[in-house]
């Protein structure tokens, strides 16, 4: 029995190691490419012939073609503000949907679900003209609004989380004369750390990865680009062979903060998602 368990243990670990290799392979490759001295997107060999940090240096400090450092800052600003707004929106909406009962509750939930089923790309051009109507196209504010404006429709996971918080606590507070607003800010919010983290994470990541909406809104305003547009530009025909290794370096730089954030907050993230998922 013991040897059987030992064999199982060893086999499991061998499989896991193999799986980890597959899982990390693309990441390993992009790191290799980012340090590769030879330019171009393809090489006829796997390991680079020479290594260099030049790609990173040029990416960050050369500004004649691509202004990566500035775009990184833009993206960071957009990400911070849009995740702030999204979090406030999502938490307030989910509190209302989970804790309060009012006439428009079910219709609101149904409409929110329907909205999620339409492919968003079609409305891109309309969103552009709405922003133009407000007079804020080609600005970071426009991007922030696009990423966070409609976030109030994506409350299902957070609502599921709130549903699991026992009602008894707020009933007690209610008897002591607390208003609903106080219940929200004093009782529910302090308990919603996991779901707040989940929301922050997902909305923080949005601006880093979207380039289709971002490029429609930014158009020719080079100074306000985000890293995703910039990285996509590097893959265009006239740049790709010269800039591919810098593109790889850019990918690494973008992935680092997000991965660190994700790994650090993973515990809460899982907690938020699971309790949310369990109640849908």
């Amino acid at each position: 029995m013991r040897t059987k368990a030992r064999i199982k243990t060893i086999l499991s670990h061998i499989c896991l190691v193999l799986l980890s290799v597959v899982w990390l392979f693309p990441i390993f490759w992009v790191v290799l490419a980012s340090f590769r001295k030879e330019r171009g997107s393809y090489t006829s060999y796997f390991f680079p012939k020479a290594y260099t940090v030049e790609n990173y240096r040029r990416l960050l400090f050369e500004t004649d073609q691509f202004h990566f450092a500035k775009w990184f800052g833009n993206t960071f600003t957009v990400a911070v503000f849009s995740c702030l707004i999204s979090t406030i929106f999502v938490l307030s909406v989910s509190f209302c949907m989970s804790r309060l009962r009012f006439k428009m509750r079910k219709p609101y939930m149904n409409i929110a679900m329907i909205l999620g089923m339409f492919p968003g790309f079609m409305s891109m051009i309309a969103v552009y003209y709405i922003l133009k109507g407000i007079g804020i196209t080609q600005s970071l504010l426009a991007l922030i609004l696009v990423y966070s404006g409609a976030s109030g429709a994506g409350f299902f996971v957070a609502k599921g989380f709130f549903d699991t918080i026992p009602k008894s606590m707020e009933e007690a507070a209610s008897i002591e004369g607390a208003t609903k607003m106080q219940i929200f800010t004093k009782i529910i919010l302090p308990l919603s750390k996991p779901i707040a983290v989940t929301t922050i994470l997902t909305s923080f990541m949005g601006p880093w990865v979207d380039y289709i909406f971002a490029s429609v809104i930014m158009g020719d305003n080079y100074d306000k680009y985000t890293v995703a547009i910039g990285l996509a530009k590097m893959l265009e025909r006239e740049f790709i062979s010269e800039y591919y290794t810098q593109f790889a370096a850019g990918c690494v730089l973008v992935s680092i903060p997000i991965s660190i954030l994700f790994m650090a907050l993973q515990k809460y993230y899982v907690e938020g998602i699971t309790s949310g998922a369990s109640k849908g």
């Binding site: 393809y42 909406v93 339409f118 299902f156 899982v270």
Partner: protein, 443 residues
Amino acid sequence: MLKTFKKGDNITRLSLLIFGLGNIVRGQLGKGLIFLGVEILYIFYFIEYGIGALKGLFTLGTQEQGWVMDERKGIEILVDGDNSMLLLLFGTLCLMIIASLLIVAKLSLESAYLAQESIEKGLKPVSLKKDLSFFLDSKVHITLLCMPIIGILAFSVLPLLYMILVAFTNYNHDHQPPGKLFDWVGLDNFFVILNTHSPLGKSFWPILSWTIVWAIVATITCFLFGLILAMWINSPYVKIKKVWRSILATSVAVPQFVSLLIIRTMLQPEGSVNVLLKELGVIDNALPFWANATWARITIILVNLWIGAPYTMMIVTGILMNIPAELYEAAKIDGANTITIFKKITLPYIVFVMTPYLITQFIGNVNNFNVIFLLTAGGPSTIDYYQAGKTDLLVTWLYKLTVGSKDYCYASTIGILVFIISAAVSLLTYHRTSAYNNEEGFQ
């Protein structure tokens, strides 16, 4: 509302036309003035823009842009015409404003009636301050929802209504604003797309079936593989569980935009995977990951597994911790073995908990633009389809139709059809799940 209208006196009824009248007459000056102010804003809007917008929505423009000779400059100068696209958008906005007007009118009537009622009961109507304090308590949902709803209306509902309306026009590459006007065409676009003999129809049905196959397979594979991973790492035979979980979670943490573009390059005939396999002597000729339709479809599903499975794994791991321990103990006392426990307790519990999640995933996969677009861009393309490839989903196809050939009306029609599919699936399944029907079960 009708009931309130019948019960109210004339002043209350008049409040439906002159907002806030009932409140002003009955001593709630502040509240009444706010209503009145809102009404004046509405009237201003309608005189200034609204009527024109409604007319524009109806005609979608009558005046095409033209050119007039400027004698002094010696060239023809542009004379702006109507822009059908903007007329449609602002017309839609006007419809939404009319809807909001109706709601305000209703509020005005109700508020007037409340005031009337308190007077009749011999009470003093509540002060504005008291009224406002309700917004932190019994009406707190209005306070909390107001901004999110405005956001949703502006950035989701309005664009969406616009998109839906485009499907009933002929906004295609021959009718591009600002140079040309487009017009209402009724259901023509739907007939074109659903007709199996038109170039679009010939592509629509095969792409639709691949979309459905993809959505089902992608959802199920991710679920199963994630489940296996979670159970496996959770088993007593595996040490340093956290490390393994973190390694697998890297694919969730790295932005998709980055990882998918990288994988796309790696799997090209000359990409690093083929190069490595050749260097190791495993293969002689490059594997056609993206060139062959079947290969491409399988590769996409596998890559999607790479992204999606760890996600399920994290969720299942969390759920496993939540399963009440008593359930297991009771089963053990009954003498059930591991497999029976898994079949009778663990699996049903996980499926029960995750059904809503799976439905969301399914709909997410029907609309999974990123994975397809960044990995294959729909390729390998085939002459059997109109402007599409063998791995194109309906969403990526409609993106190509808008960005590539500017055929907005057909793309919108496809968008509506995608919606109908998603809605049907969720209605059929979601409303049956206990999570929906038994919302307060755990509170």
